[in-house]
């Protein structure tokens, strides 16, 4: 019974943390953007603009929720939710650390909700579902640019998820398990997979950027050519849900990279494991934001040719070479 | 516990719903989706038998079914695109000629 209660508490805690994460992340992203562009970023709301995300949140909550007259009303309303649910469901199997003993009640707690036998497959499968929200949002708007955004998103997702999964297979072959916990345990003591799978890491990182629609692969919401892409017709909280999804996806992709390639919570002993884990995730999030404000966006045909002609053959070759070495 | 017969009845129901989609609808897309539904109902059957008879063959076979279904959809949608490019018809009754 107490196990069940504990799982419930863990689910609530993780959900709340993940729900609140986009607030600091938007602030950090805007600050980093500002400083890269030799600006200050948000500065007026609160000291150094630290309350800006709350101001944005309040603004988004009180804006009018517009449904276009010719939109498919039901799908239009439900699409942001469809986008959001998988982004949260991914966290069901993501481990944050080994067992810890709670200080006061002296009770051992696993720092994960569940350790699935099919962990990494589950994460990839569920992460792939979040594209539905984008496609349906684009289609249900009944408007040209969102439709193009949705189309681009679906094609992009199909072509990059292949490379993403194949990049994982190298790791799985080394570790001999699909469970994320086992993968992290196998890397303890500086046997990080990035050392054994550098090509896999690069492919996973690039395909991951495409999977979470970040620059240089953010074609579905390309401001330059599509207005705002799939969420052009959205306003108020529904728009906020899409933004939320994007940031949560960024966090989960960073976590996945850390778990698969950067050793999870492995690190020198002077800091507890969970802190190493968070440090690595924060660094990856920073790198993703940094990339966004450094590189221009790829053209659509370039995106497709990178996915199919470079990343996919490269990941297959990576699997082959890994297999040969293991044998 | 859930007895095996429940799973089989569920799978039969889904199979019949899928069949009715194939037989009653004239939209190619819906027909394709119904075919997918039929294949999946068979999968339920296979996995259920695999569990109740403690035999892995059912699961293995359902993996093959899923694979073949994916291939089938890729080909079918390719044909559909080619068809619409030439004829602009989604209704199976309108597609009668053999000379594409």
């Amino acid at each position: 019974m107490i196990e069940l209660l504990l799982i419930g508490i863990k689910v609530v805690v993780v959900t709340l943390i993940v729900f609140a994460l986009p607030l600091p992340l938007t602030y950090i992203e805007r600050k980093v953007a500002g400083h890269i562009q030799v600006r200050l970023g948000p500065y007026r709301v609160g000291p150094h603009g630290i309350l800006q995300p709350f101001a944005d949140m309040i603004k988004l909550m009180f804006k009018e929720d517009i449904v276009p007259a010719k939109a498919d009303p039901w799908l239009f309303r439900i699409a942001p939710v469809i986008a959001m649910v998988p982004a949260f469901a991914v966290f069901a199997t993501i481990p944050f650390g080994e067992k810890v003993t709670l200080p006061i009640v002296n009770y051992e707690v696993n720092l994960y909700i569940s350790n699935m036998d099919t962990g990494i497959l589950y994460v990839l499968a569920i992460a792939g579902l979040s594209v539905y929200g984008i496609i349906l949002g684009g289609w249900a708007s009944n408007s040209k640019y969102p439709l193009l955004g949705g189309l681009r998103s679906s094609a992009q997702m199909i072509s990059y998820e292949l490379a993403l999964s194949f990049a994982c297979i190298g790791v799985v072959m080394i570790v001999n398990s699909l469970s994320l916990l086992d993968i992290v345990r196998a890397q303890s003591g500086w046997h990080w997979n990035i050392l054994y799978q550098p090509v896999g890491f690069v492919i996973f990182f690039i395909a991951g950027l495409a999977e979470i629609n970040r620059i240089p692969f953010d074609l579905p919401e390309d401001e330059g050519t599509l207005g705002a892409g799939y969420h052009a017709e959205y306003s108020s909280m529904r728009f906020a849900f899409f933004m939320l999804t994007e940031y949560v996806a960024m966090v989960s992709m960073s976590i996945l990279i850390v778990l698969l390639f950067l050793g999870g919570w492995d690190g020198p002993v002077f800091l507890p494991g969970i802190l190493w884990f968070l440090l690595k995730v924060a660094m990856l999030i920073y790198i993703i934001i940094w990339t966004r404000f450094t590189f221009p966006r790829y053209r659509y045909d370039q995106l497709m040719s990178i996915g199919w002609k470079i990343l996919l053959p490269l990941s297959l070759a990576n699997i082959l070479i890994t297999g040969l070495i293991i044998i | 516990m859930v007895p095996l017969s429940w799973y089989i009845i569920l799978s039969a129901l889904l199979f019949i719903i899928g069949t009715s989609g194939v037989l009653l609808r004239r939209n190619i897309l819906i027909i394709l989706m119904s075919v997918e539904l039929i294949l999946n109902s068979v999968n339920i059957n296979l996995v259920a038998f695999s569990y109740f008879l403690q035999d892995l063959r059912g699961q293995i076979f359902s993996i093959f079914v899923i694979t073949i279904a994916a291939a089938e959809v890729a080909i079918a949608l390719g044909i559909l695109i080619a068809l619409v490019r030439n004829k602009a018809a989604l209704n199976v009754d309108e597609i009668q000629t053999m000379k594409g």
Binding site: V32, G34, H35, I36, Q37, V38, R39, L40, Y43, R44, W290, T291, F293, T294, F295 | -
Partner: protein, 191 residues
């Protein structure tokens, strides 16, 4: 390796394989992240004092004895492309002839003014000058109708001041609108 025949570019290939160009780009933006920002903290902490050539809110000048320079010739009104200036002249009661014509009313509707400066060019006595005040936002339409008395009061920035600097400032809000009070003691160039 057939490098000699096809002019094989090993360096270029290595650059591509190891993303050297991309990493170089990342380092450039990383350096910018920690460079000094150029943003002016207007209106909370800093404000911009424009150059003298700036065309802001109109000002009506007086001569050294404190007498209004405007003679009510109505040339500014005639030259105004948006017809936002209203001038009603009157005879000076001291009785010194045509040269002592003064403006009875001199009003400008800032909602319509586009700060082209043609009125300034047309003025024969250099009475009218476009000043350097640019914080003209207000909360009422009436506030945007500026009369002679308001325009005759000298502006915060003295006319002989060169300008083109950033100074410390303080934001003040009252019922007429917002005011940015410059503190001319600390000045810095914006570049």
């Amino acid at each position: 390796m057939n490098g000699n025949h096809h002019n094989f570019d090993l360096k270029g290939l290595l650059k591509k394989v190891f993303f050297l160009d991309l990493i170089q780009g990342l380092f450039i933006t990383f350096n910018y992240t920690f460079s000094k920002t150029v943003t002016m903290k207007y209106p909370d902490e800093e404000t911009w004092i424009p150059y003298r050539r700036f065309r802001g809110l109109h000002t009506l000048n007086r001569n050294k004895e404190g007498k209004e320079l405007c003679v009510g010739c109505e040339l500014c009104q005639k030259s105004c492309p948006t017809q936002c200036i209203t001038v009603v002249p009157m005879q000076d009661t001291t009785g010194k002839g045509i040269a002592d014509r003064v403006a009875y009313r001199w009003e400008i509707n800032l909602l319509r003014c586009m700060f082209c400066g043609l009125c300034e060019d047309a003025c024969p006595t250099e009475a009218l000058k476009l000043g350097r005040e640019y914080e003209l936002a207000g909360t009422s339409m009436q506030r945007q109708l500026r009369t002679k008395e308001e325009l005759l009061t000298p502006q915060a920035i003295p006319g002989e001041f060169e300008g083109g600097v950033i100074v410390k400032a303080r934001l003040e809000t009252d019922e007429t609108g917002i005011k940015i009070v410059p503190d001319m003691s600390v000045q810095k160039r914006w570049w």
